[in-house]
């Protein structure tokens, strides 16, 4: 069963026949990446937009690179071809840069700015690049870069685990995802414990405001 939302068109310049939106998530195990992507996917299904996702579980509970791919619209493969991501949501600056293999010059990037230093760096391997340099590189390659201090914002709200929801709100603020913010709110209210709902709504709204203003 495949349903396509009328008017959903890809921001990237793929073939005429395709009518899809590709969202690539990248970060570090333990950051709530799959949870975040699932919320958009469930909201999409609720709104009548077809969604497929690909996730890799296993060998990285916490600390390893993790990616998750979400495709809305009329596609079969749950994995995004190289250079075909319309939106990249990076939960960690180096992981955002690593995910640029999926980007083209029209891609929009949302990235957390706070680094998580990998063990390989602490053990004296390659140095962790300056965040400003990573952001400058991202800006030189893609259509738009939104640097979001999601972890700091979530801490400010009093729920550090909601950094993923801040990024979700920021993704919605770009207007690229063809869903209403309230559909995401509805999905959130069915996914998070009621005592954390208020803080999650705030995280979503603050992320949303941040990119909408830009």
């Amino acid at each position: 069963m495949r349903r396509v939302l009328a008017g959903l068109s890809s921001a990237c310049d793929r073939g005429e026949k395709m009518s899809s939106l590709n969202v690539f998530f990248a970060g570090v195990g333990g950051q709530g990446i799959i949870t975040g992507a699932s919320i958009i996917a469930r909201a999409a299904i609720a709104a009548g937009v077809d969604a497929v996702m690909s996730e890799v579980h296993g060998m990285a509970q916490r600390g390893g690179s993790v990616v998750c791919e979400l495709r809305l619209g009329d596609v079969h493969s749950p994995m995004i071809p190289e250079g075909e991501a319309d939106l990249i949501i990076g939960f960690e600056p180096v992981e955002t840069v690593r995910s640029l293999i999926k980007a083209n010059h029209h891609t929009v990037v949302i990235t957390e700015v706070r680094p998580i230093i990998p063990v390989s760096v602490s053990l004296g391997g390659i140095a962790y690049p300056a965040v400003e340099d990573l952001l400058a590189y991202l800006r030189s390659q893609v259509a738009a870069v939104y640097a979001v201090p999601a972890a700091a914002m979530a801490e400010e709200i009093g729920l550090p685990q909601a950094a993923n929801v801040v990024l979700l709100g920021a993704a919605m603020g770009t207007g690229l995802i063809p869903l209403e913010l309230r559909t995401i709110r509805d999905t959130l209210s069915r996914s998070v414990p009621s005592k954390a709902l208020e803080a999650n709504f705030r995280a979503l709204q603050e992320g949303f405001e941040l990119t909408r203003k830009v």
């Binding site: 395709m18 969604a51 509970q61 916490r62 390989s120 760096v121 893609v142």
Partner: protein
């Protein structure tokens, strides 16, 4: 209850499901009564879901100690007239294969489905073996879905086929189907039959030589029937891409998704024969299909199995349509495929330009990025165990020790600074290979096995090592769970698969009862004591067993948070001399270097305290 929809979802309801979750709904729609498994990625979530929904759905579910036992439980259940289900990762079927092969001879009364989740590209496995060979080896029918919806639908069909043929059905998924999430529309749930009656029939059910030779003949007869079912199955169907396609593509599983997307991306028209009932192949229909196209392209992941069957069939039938497979299309025989690989092969074959975003590809970051391979979690108790072993070896001056490793999170001890994994074959291999290194070398042997793995395949290996007087230090890394696959229970725990109380088997008591001369339980968070224990163990002339007992830090962290305990360690920068012993000896993801001194990430620290014990100037303490 999470997954309530899987239990009481009605016909026509739909839900966003992982392929593995869809497999559970399919099994429930088929009315299974009994399921058994040993966890293994990429199949693990099937068991996780059964753990939650089994009771509510009236299904019996257990985690057996290994895949062979799980298969035996469900084979006997199906022989007693109860539809039954076992699921495992691809290498799990190697463990179960001894009984699996003979299940085909004996057959089944009620439906029996064996799901194998393969892992092309070895995302979380030691090899990427193609388990489609097992259908051919055992002579059993096989189904392969492409999506969560098909996973659900094919499960129901698998039970029908199994009962029609009185044969187990191999249900093969891969990581990209098992871990694909998509919308799934539900069908009817058939009532659960939880208990049956076993009727004796030794001529059919006991494969002594006089019986088994007849069983083989009968099995080949059933395989011919299976071929007929495949020829007439709606799971094998033609999908037209574009109009007037002159080329035919035969494809299966997740590769079907890549073929369709690649054809559309390249703007090519083709007729696609989608195989869902993949063994035996519907060769008559493929031949008819081939007669209507100019050429036949076979696109499949890993081994050229369909290709070889089709080429052999065309040769024997004089079918002239050219067949292009792995070599002709340059589709690799290793690793998983994706739209990029398939599009490249098709573009080159049809002489059309490969789609490149008109905006152009981005330039990669100019220098190498710091890598972020999977590592032992902050607070992981294995870190303390490896640190203690390394310290004992250093203090005793043991030259060239050999580390025989096993399958679990602790294999990550392979990385620096521990470098504590030198050799690894399979579940339980740490014990057998330790004995091999002992008899073949004069080196000191240290082997490591997890608690779940110990019960999976370590017990008989330990008996063998003791009896054969092998000498090595075996550490059972007892983190009170099956951690790597997502925290499933094992026989050393007090609860079973559905959360009921269960007898816990003490690993140290088992080792003592078997006659191990040295058994010691340590807490890996106490580095000095643990180090002393290892020094003592290396003096033992025989097998020394150290049970390193400390609950997985992820579970400990969860329990602490539930109680409102939030403790972390921090570095006193006035005391820290910047020697970085903590960084180099402990290699914890929570510790990083800032302006020449150690610093602890307060979000990641799990307060195991191991770093504070290695600091020579006592600069690390509990954050006040």
């Amino acid at each position: 209850m999470k997954y309530q929809a899987l239990v009481d979802g009605k016909t026509g309801d739909h839900e966003l499901l992982l392929g593995n979750e869809a497999a559970v709904r399919g099994a429930l729609e088929a009315g299974i009564g009994i399921a058994a498994s040993y966890p293994g990625t990429p199949s693990s979530e099937i068991g996780d879901v059964f753990s939650i929904v089994a009771k509510a759905s009236g299904v019996y579910f257990e985690y057996s100690a290994n895949e062979k036992i799980a298969l035996e439980v469900v084979a006997a259940a199906a022989a007693s007239g109860v539809r039954s289900f076992t699921f495992m990762k691809h290498v799990g079927l190697n463990v179960a294969s001894d009984s699996f092969m003979t299940t085909a001879y004996i057959g089944t009364r009620a439906g029996l489905v064996v799901l194998s989740a393969d892992d092309p590209s070895t995302h979380s496995s030691q090899n990427e073996q193609d388990n489609r060979y097992y259908a051919r080896l055992a002579n059993v029918p096989m189904l392969e879905p492409s999506s969560p919806q098909e996973t659900k639908d094919y499960m129901v069909e698998a039970y029908n086929i199994s009962e029609k043929l009185e044969l187990p059905v191999l249900f093969r998924t891969t990581t990209r189907v098992a871990h694909m999430r998509g919308d799934v529309v539900f069908g009817d749930r058939r009532p659960v039959v939880r208990r049956g009656v076993f009727e004796k029939d030794p001529a059919r059910l006991v494969p002594v030589p006089a019986n088994s030779s007849k069983m083989h003949v009968k099995l080949l007869g059933k395989l011919a029937e299976a071929r007929y079912l495949s020829e007439t199955s709606s799971l094998n169907r033609v999908v037209d891409v574009g109009v007037g396609g002159r080329a035919g593509v035969v494809t299966v599983g997740s590769t079907f998704n890549y073929v369709i997307d690649a054809l559309e991306e390249l703007g090519l028209s083709a007729r696609v024969f989608k195989i869902g009932f993949s063994y035996p192949l519907p060769l008559d229909r493929i031949r008819e299909f081939a007669a209507g196209v100019d050429e036949l392209l076979v696109v499949e992941e890993l081994e050229p199995l369909m290709e070889n069957d089709i080429k052999a069939d065309f040769l024997s039938h004089g079918t002239r349509t050219p067949v292009c497979g792995k070599e002709e299309l340059l589709v690799p025989r290793v690793h998983e495929l994706n739209v990029d690989v398939v599009a490249k092969a098709l573009a080159s074959h049809f002489g059309v330009p490969l789609h490149v975003p008109a905006s152009g590809k981005v330039q990669p970051w100019s220098s190498p990025l710091p890598s972020r391979p999977p590592v032992l979690c902050p607070g992981c108790p294995h870190r303390g165990s490896y640190l203690a072993v390394r310290r004992a070896i250093r203090e005793l001056g043991i030259p060239e020790p050999v580390f025989a490793s096993d399958i679990g999170c602790y294999t990550l001890g392979m990385a620096a600074p521990f470098s504590a994994a030198d050799y690894l074959l399979s579940m339980g291999s740490s014990v057998g290979t330790a004995g091999g290194f002992d008899v073949a070398t004069d080196q000191r042997i240290f082997s490591f096995i997890g608690d779940s793995t110990f019960f999976h395949a370590g017990l008989s290996a330990l008996a063998s090592a003791i009896h054969n007087k092998h000498r090595f230090v075996l550490t059972v890394l007892d983190n009170r769970t099956t951690a790597m696959t997502g925290h499933q229970p094992n026989p050393s725990m007090l609860t079973d698969a559905v959360g009921d109380p269960a007898p816990a088997i003490s690993i140290e008591a088992v080792a003592k009862a078997m006659g191990v001369p040295f058994v010691k339980v340590i807490n890996p968070y106490r580095v000095a004591e643990a180090t002393e224990a290892y020094k003592e163990a290396t003096q033992v002339d025989g097998v020394a067993v150290i049970v390193s007992k400390q609950v997985c830090s992820l579970l400990l962290d969860r329990a602490k948070r539930a109680k409102g305990i939030w403790q972390t360690f921090q570095v006193d920068r006035d005391v820290c001399t910047g020697c970085l012993t903590c960084v180099h000896d402990v290699a914890c993801p929570a510790i990083f270097v800032s302006e020449g001194k150690a610093e602890i990430n307060q979000e990641l620290c799990d307060a195991c305290g191991v770093c504070s014990q290695v600091c020579p100037v006592h600069a690390i303490g509990v954050k006040k």
